[in-house]
């Protein structure tokens, strides 16, 4: 089906656009296959708004008399109003937006059409891969190997073709282990701690089931992972009760009797629908206009979002403590191993590993731990906080991760090489993007659609000189230390930059950030001219 079939009215003149932080303006609205374009009629100002239809989460239309108003609620939490003359035109526009904003077919999405003049499809795609990761860490090569057992995705459809596993385990063993883990996600290495040689691995839950099935190969694989060490930890992102219950549906956990060298720690993390509902409640609270303090605090509490931030950071802290302070390797999993597992392994790496705190390092971390590791972006980020559609697989795990990183950034303003602007950009891109990076649910799906051949890579684009400058933290001072975030409630704050982004309040804070950047640039200039003049 062609896009044009969904567009009955492509252009409407004399439309009034009302949007936050700007005075209303009058102009022309134009709907294309992927965009809503508004351009100011006033020649002098020529203001344009180009909105990716994919960014639209919900629309409401109100007809009164011969004209109508369309309220557009975006996934980046912006709310726009279009006053459109003519009832039919209004309905047509609304219909086009409704249909085009939620087309399911990935290959018809905008990244496949986006062709900016300054980017070439032949450019390098991506920053990191298990192969690259493995080749970068020479220390690994003694005891770990790169296995291509999943090169045809037959063991695990959501894993990349290559994974890092203990050297002492052969591919046949991995095949058996994959059958014993949900979705085939057998334990693989995701982080090597150079200071003490300990590692973080992740997987999905073992399929022990109600009758406590065992898998010798799985036990062997885990034993191989802590080879030489007295014990390892398993951090299960479910409560022990939830883990017990999972057995009834075929899942389960590593029992003490079968995995005697492993110590299980349970941390209950919210996931799935509950997390999505939390986001919806928080966004609703932020839009409350009653000016009532008690109501705000009670809604903020009731949304539980900050509790989820606290839990995520403290579980990540626990993971990092096991590795860094206690000196033991850790296996992380929940049930599917595609959500909270990735969340805490990402945060723990940020806490411990200075390499993950540079702009480039952080993006590479996201690529490894989310894109390559098979976080189902398409399912999780199909809809956001405003949508009226029935919730299915949506869950803002990635957003929660960005929020947690922001908390770390706020507590350690000098330790991260990237700025808040990067986190905000990522929060947008994950829901609606010109780039192909967050398309699909797995490496396999991306390959099938030729994503790397036919779309541009966001992470590469963010590293172009201009962007790099903008997304760098001017205050960055690399430190080799672990950065332990405080999880005390007083130390955690609402991420105003994101949740209140379209308010005056946030604009002032951005101005301050700009001021900081200018000060540091000025200083750099002077330092250089000073040095130069001394040499003359």
């Amino acid at each position: 089906m062609e896009f044009s079939d969904h567009i009955k009215t492509a252009n409407v003149d004399d439309v009034v656009l009302r949007q936050p932080l700007h005075p209303p303006s009058r102009g022309t609205v134009c709907i294309t296959g992927h965009h809503l374009l508004f351009s100011d009629r006033d020649e002098g100002s020529s203001r344009q708004v180009l909105l990716l239809l994919r960014n639209i989460d919900a629309i409401e239309k109100r007809i009164s008399g011969s004209s109508g108003t369309i309220t557009i609620k975006c996934k980046d939490l912006r709310v726009l109003h279009l006053d459109i003359p003519g009832m039919e035109q209004c309905l047509n526009i609304a219909h086009s937006i409704e249909t085009l904003s939620c087309l399911d077919s990935v290959s018809e999405m905008y990244p496949f059409f986006y062709r900016p003049p300054d980017l070439s499809l032949h450019n390098q795609w991506g920053l990191s891969s298990p192969e690259k990761h493995y080749s970068q860490i020479k220390e690994l090569h003694d005891k770990w190997r790169l296995s291509t057992v999943n090169s045809d995705y037959s063991l695990c459809p959501s894993y990349p073709p290559a994974v890092i596993v203990p050297k002492s385990t052969d591919d046949d063993l991995l095949k058996k282990v994959a059958k014993f883990r949900q979705g085939g996600r057998f334990p693989v290495l995701c982080y090597y701690h150079r200071k003490n040689g300990m590692v973080i691995m992740r997987s999905s839950q073992p399929l022990t089931g109600a009758n406590r099935k065992r898998c010798r190969e799985d036990e062997h694989l885990l034993q191989a992972m802590i080879d030489g060490s007295d014990k390892g930890y398993i951090i299960d992102t479910r409560s022990s009760q939830q883990a017990q219950q999972a057995r009834l549906t075929g899942g389960g956990f590593e029992s003490k009797s079968s995995y005697s060298h492993w110590k299980r720690l349970h941390r209950q993390m919210e996931r799935g629908k509950a997390l999505q509902e939390s986001l919806i409640k928080l966004v609703e609270a932020c839009g409350d206009e009653s000016h009532n303090m008690d109501r705000w605090l009670s809604k903020l509490e009731n949304s539980k979002w900050l509790s989820h931030v606290q839990t995520a950071l403290s579980t990540a802290g626990l993971l990092a403590e096991c590795v860094e302070r206690d000196g033991h390797s850790v296996l992380v999993h929940g049930s599917e191993g595609t959500d909270s597992t990735l969340l805490i392994s990402t945060l723990a790496q940020l806490i411990m590993d200075p390499c993950c705190r540079t702009l480039e390092g952080f993006l590479a971390l996201l690529e490894r731990e989310w894109v390559q590791a098979g976080h189902p972006f398409q399912q999780r980020c199909a809809r956001s906080a405003y949508s009226h559609a029935r919730l299915q697989q949506e869950s803002p795990v990635f957003l929660l991760m960005l929020d947690c990183v922001w908390q770390v950034w706020r507590q350690f303003p000098l330790a991260l090489g990237f700025s808040e602007a990067l986190l905000l950009r990522l929060a947008n891109e994950v829901y609606a993007s010109n780039y192909g990076t967050f398309l699909c649910n797995s490496h396999q799906e991306r390959c099938a659609l030729g994503v790397t051949e036919n779309t541009h890579c966001l992470f590469q684009a963010l590293l172009r000189p201009m962007e790099r400058d903008y997304y760098s933290n001017p205050l960055y001072e690399p430190t080799e230390l672990a950065i332990w975030p405080s999880v005390h409630p007083q130390s955690l704050q609402l991420w105003r930059g994101f949740f209140l982004r379209w308010t005056e309040h946030t604009r002032l804070l951005e101005e301050a950030q700009e001021e900081i950047r200018n000060m540091v640039i000025e200083w750099g200039k002077l330092a250089l001219s000073d040095a130069l003049s001394m040499n003359t």
């Binding site: 109501r295 605090l297 626990l318 303003p413 672990a482 301050a512 900081i516 640039i521």
Partner: protein
């Protein structure tokens, strides 16, 4: 030494709970006439902790435990010290002394009257003339043809809690002033607080009228008419009653109340709803308790915050300021502000309005002037509100705390608009309570004059001014748009946060783990030096080559960090990621006894405090030696290794003792 039978106790253990200290240190406790001093035994550090007696708000004596007798010292700056004394007799003595010394019964016992810095008479007098209120009135453009000084109160005869020098509308004759003052609580007649030159509108203040249900007073009506007339651009004034309307109505039964709009032509009455001092006192206690919670969940914390009502009150005060500033700046209408007596909520509302209206009050010196005018000179009852002397506990209330917090909330919303930083606000807060200097002693100007405070004590302002570099906000930019003119804050609830810097105990020592402000101060400092150096070089080059040099085509590099002092505070002492349930339960009775055990648990791998079960045996560190913990080691920035160019010699800003030690 009459109240100090035991001036020295050895083998005392002290735990500074508020700084997040986890292990008590052993040392010797000394009691002097002015301070409690604790000196650590540790020969390497010999750390001293000084607590001014007047800063102690309560001394509790929990039940004796086998290890000895305990005392808990709570301070007015929200520090909490736990003391363990081996002998019960000593403890009783120390307790009795502290109870007595922390509640002086007469002014002469206060520290500022015995505090004798090494300065001569001229310097002392100079210190008092550092802030000149008349100069500030002149700066805002009064006296002029609308507002004039009045001699009516020069001997404090009309109103004993007002200053001797006051500005009133030109048409207000002494008869009107006296008549109006008779119709106002405590004689506090309408007087000028702030004059807005751009619109000619003014902020005036007074106390409630003694109207009862039907009373009226011609002079008072003329007084309000005069206030209106002195603003040629407008034909009415706002009367802002900062109380909840219900409270104002209740006052009518006692012969007080608010202006009857039928009797006063051309006034618009507006109620704001700031609660009274008793509500505020209990609200602050609740938020202090929230700050003291040991391992609250997010739910506990937010619920506690809501339940305290504190931010709601802060918002009400800010809303009052916003209403006044909008009326004056946007509508050009003068405002008369009052509450009951006109010395608490009125002071808050007027001073917040001034901050919003005039950029000068957002500078370091400006804030000093503002506090001197709206608080000190207009008779805010400092000694009663901040319990300088042993007195009625119902008079105590954190009125100025709330004003300082409003300023802090604003500075969070406008990061570039204030010349000073949070530390300055906290320093002012400390001085208001400490009576280290004479500024805040007494309850009104007359009382201070009668005590001859200017001859017997020193002013705090020059002292704070001397340290202004430490109190500077590096982001302050006078020319930035958000800094100029009237501040228009957003008072939506989500703009308010708990003021962690003031209330937080658990993490007080750690929150600015990395402070961008300190970093930027260094950047700013160095930028200035580089500019100077550069000019020097250029001059030399110009002298050598005979032509000026420009540096246009220089590519800007990433800055070179080597030149800058490392400002990392370094990561935290180990934060424990434990569930609230597993964190050590401490009630007062067992606190010290279980301390050592807790110490071990907390300084070791936190995982040890997890429910690991009997098998969960981890490698343990020496609990007393934090350096063995892997994360504190490696690059905790060496604060002493500084570049040659950034040479300020700053004291630890977090150390409250510093000020006292230098004293």
């Amino acid at each position: 030494m009459e109240h100090i039978p035991t001036p020295k106790v050895e083998n005392v253990r002290l735990l500074d709970r508020s700084s997040g200290q986890r292990k008590a240190s052993t040392g010797t406790l000394y009691l002097s006439a002015t301070h409690t001093i604790f000196v650590e035994n540790n020969p390497e550090t010999r750390k001293e902790t000084w607590v001014l007696h007047s800063m102690v708000s309560s001394v509790e004596r929990p039940p004796t435990i086998p290890a000895g007798s305990q005392l808990i010292l709570r301070c007015k700056d929200f520090r909490v010290f736990q003391i363990l004394i081996p002998q019960e007799r000593d403890c009783l003595d120390v307790h009795a002394s502290l109870v007595r010394l922390s509640r002086p019964v007469k002014y002469s016992e206060l520290y500022c009257l015995s505090f004798n810095p090494n300065v001569n008479k001229e310097e002392r007098e100079e210190s008092w003339s550092f802030i000149d209120l008349m100069a500030d009135y002149k700066r805002m453009g009064v006296p002029n043809n609308l507002w004039v000084t009045t001699a009516a109160n020069s001997e404090y005869r009309v109103c004993d809690t007002y200053p001797s020098e006051l500005f009133v509308p030109k048409s207000a004759t002494p008869a009107i002033i006296v008549g109006s003052s008779r119709f106002r609580s405590r004689g506090r007649f309408p007087a000028l607080s702030y004059f807005h030159q751009d619109t000619l509108a003014a902020v005036c203040r007074c106390s409630q009228p003694l109207s009862g249900f039907s009373g009226r007073c011609q002079e008072d009506e003329m007084m309000l008419q005069a206030v209106m007339k002195s603003n040629p651009g407008s034909d009415y004034i706002y009367v802002v009653d900062t109380r909840p309307k219900l409270n104002a109505m209740a006052n009518r039964a006692a012969g007080k109340g608010y202006e009857n709009e039928d009797h006063y032509s051309n006034i618009k009455l507006q109620f704001i709803g700031i609660e009274n001092i008793h509500v505020m006192r209990s609200s602050q206690q609740k938020i202090i308790d929230v700050g003291e919670m040991r391992a609250p969940s997010m739910t506990d914390f937010l619920w506690g915050l809501e339940n305290s009502g504190w931010l709601k009150h802060i918002k009400a005060i800010l809303d009052a300021g916003v209403f006044i500033s909008r009326a004056v700046a946007d509508e050009g209408v003068s405002v008369l502000v009052h509450c009951s007596d006109g010395w608490d909520r009125t002071a808050q509302a007027c001073s917040v309005a001034s901050i919003l209206l005039d950029p000068f009050y957002r500078t370091t010196k400006g804030l000093m002037v503002l506090i001197e005018r709206d608080w000190v000179s207009f008779g805010h009852k400092f000694s009663h509100r901040y319990a300088h002397l042993d007195g009625d506990p119902k008079e105590v209330s954190p009125v100025i705390d709330q004003f300082l917090e409003c300023v802090w909330q604003l500075s969070e919303q406008f990061p570039c608009a204030f010349e000073f930083n949070e530390r300055f606000l906290i320093a002012v807060h400390t001085h208001v309570y400490s009576c280290h200097f004479g500024n805040f002693l007494g309850n009104c100007q007359k009382e201070r004059r009668d005590m001859r405070l200017h001859e017997r004590s020193h002013s705090v302002w020059p002292q704070l001014w001397k340290d202004r570099a430490e109190y500077a906000n590096p982001l302050y930019k006078a020319e930035l748009s958000q800094t100029q003119g009237v501040l228009r804050p957003n008072t939506t609830p989500y703009c308010f946060k708990m003021w962690k810097g003031l209330y937080n105990h658990v993490e007080k020592s750690t929150p600015p783990r990395q402070s961008p402000a300190d970093f930027l101060s260094a950047v700013r400092e160095e930028t200035q030096q580089l500019e100077e150096e550069l000019t020097n070089h250029q001059e030399r080059i110009a002298a050598l080559t005979g032509r000026p040099i420009t540096w246009e085509k220089i590519e800007v590099p990433r800055r070179r960090t080597s030149r800058l002092r490392q400002r990392h505070c370094g990561p935290d002492p180990p934060t424990t990621y434990t569930d609230p349930i597993t964190s050590p339960v401490q009630d007062n009775g067992h606190a010290l006894a279980s301390e050592t055990a807790n110490q071990k648990a907390q300084t070791k791998d936190p995982a040890l405090t997890l429910p690991l079960g009997p098998h969960g045996h981890l490698k343990s560190h020496d609990p007393d030696d934090l350096s063995t913990c892997s994360d504190l080691e490696s690059g905790v920035a060496d604060l002493s290794s500084r570049s040659s160019s950034g040479g300020d010699d700053r004291k630890d800003p977090d150390s409250d003792e510093a000020a006292f030690i230098t004293a």
